[in-house]
Symmetry: C2
Subunit: 240 residues, 2 copies
DNA sequence: CGCAGGATTGAATCCACTCAAGGTATGTGG
DNA sequence: CCACATACCTTGAGTGGATTCAATCCTGCG
């Protein structure tokens, strides 16, 4: 593959980056090959099983991580244990709040995830020299802000039925490989309990509403997790 | 006043900026006197009465604006009219989403507001040459993201009583002049209807919960809008 | 005054929650 | 292979908190 940008002088694209999801769409897409080579000396790939805690609320942050595959859920909990999901991160998002000394959310692997761990100083050094990188991070923050605000409408103003439909619609339009085309059949990345925490509902309510959508023919469910949406526009109508 | 930074060469600080809320805490704090002088040629101060629409959802953005005084509410509406507030902006926040061609929210003056209108091209030119400015905007976006996520917990997981207490607590801690010290007595910047749209509740429920806090001695209410919190810690306990 | 807009209060309804039971897949050890 | 355990999901019955609908009450203002 010689599609590497011509600012490479001595070295090619680092091996682990060759087929990386973050290379073009993620933050690494704005780095020169030199910067990337330098960064790669400090990064390492890891795989984390579903359910593992990646980042604890109020804990100091030691590193950032690129999400390469899988889904990460961000959540907040009240003292008495009530939990609310406040974000989902897909590849190639960067996990970890820039410029914060400690996390304000906890992060957990929703599915098995592949991460590219980047030590905090390494990323922050790079940030100091690359305005393009900072710009890229800002765009991610703005996108997350837009998503959070859409979600607030769902949390504050929609019925349980509309919430569940909205969630399914969100997943269908987010899981597509090209971000543009929605998937019509997919595995849910979250359990019913997680979906409840996402939507501000109980497990039972989520289950009931999914059953209702199923008997009404809006969705098909196989093996609890696998969902097919025969008519996306019909699902869209249920979103309020 | 000769506390102007020494990078001034021919001109002093532009007159309208002398006592401006945005000069030090807002985005103008990261500009040199020269940049500020240049920018000032294109900006203008305006006052907008409470209730006026400043920015419509899905409309093209012609300009940004610094909030100099007052409170701006950001909201989203569903097709059938249900409304949800998704943000509040105080001085010296910048109003308007950077790098977007059209707004994703509508903005309305919650109180009478003073704005410093900045034409879109003027700000974007400056952004191109000032990494510090972009950094400043990123910090605002990240702060708004943190706030949105806190709010999501309130919307999704708190009872009506806790929501209202949380709102009052938020206002008490946000209206302070120095951002650090909370105010113990203040005017609510929002009507009961707006508070309902903020919290995902109806007007009636907001009113009932405020009455309950009043009879229980957690707050005092004068003339509907003016609230006194004798014991902030006691209010904090009600936030869940 | 009398009106308008916002706020409060009351009564009845309904949606989502709680509590409880039962169902379905997966894995483990006898 | 079957029995059992476990985790997750579904379904049902009853309750309660927030909504809806309606009436009333302030307060400012022409």
């Amino acid at each position: 593959m010689q599609t590497v940008r011509s600012d490479t002088r001595h070295h090619d694209l680092p091996a682990p980056c060759q087929n990386c999801a973050a290379r073009h769409l993620g933050i690494c897409g704005v780095l020169t090959a030199d910067q990337l080579s330098e960064l790669t000396k400090t990064t390492r790939h890891v795989r984390r099983p579903a359910g593992e805690e990646l980042l604890a609320d109020a804990m100091p942050i030691a590193s950032y991580a690129n999400v390469l595959a899988g889904v990460v859920k961000l959540s907040k909990v009240l003292e008495d244990g009530r939990q609310q999901l406040v974000g989902l991160q897909f590849a190639p998002d960067l996990l970890g709040r820039p410029f914060a000394t400690q996390s304000r959310v906890s992060a957990e692997a929703a599915s098995d995830v592949d991460l590219c761990i980047i030590p905090k100083p390494a990323l922050e050094n790079l940030l100091r020299e690359s305005a393009a990188l900072e710009h890229r991070l800002m765009m991610q923050a703005l996108r997350e802000l837009d998503e959070a605000r859409d979600w607030m409408v769902t949390l504050g103003r929609k019925s349980a039925a509309e919430k569940v439909a909205s969630f399914l619609y969100l997943i269908a339009t987010h899981l597509g490989p090209s971000e543009g085309e929605p998937e019509t059949t997919f595995d849910l990345p979250l359990s019913r309990a997680d979906i409840g925490d996402f939507l501000g509902l109980t497990v039972e309510t989520v289950s009931r509403q999914m059953s209702r959508l199923r008997v009404e023919g809006v969705i098909e469910i196989e093996n609890f997790r696998h969902v097919t949406v025969p008519d996306l526009a019909r699902l869209r109508l249920r979103c309020g």
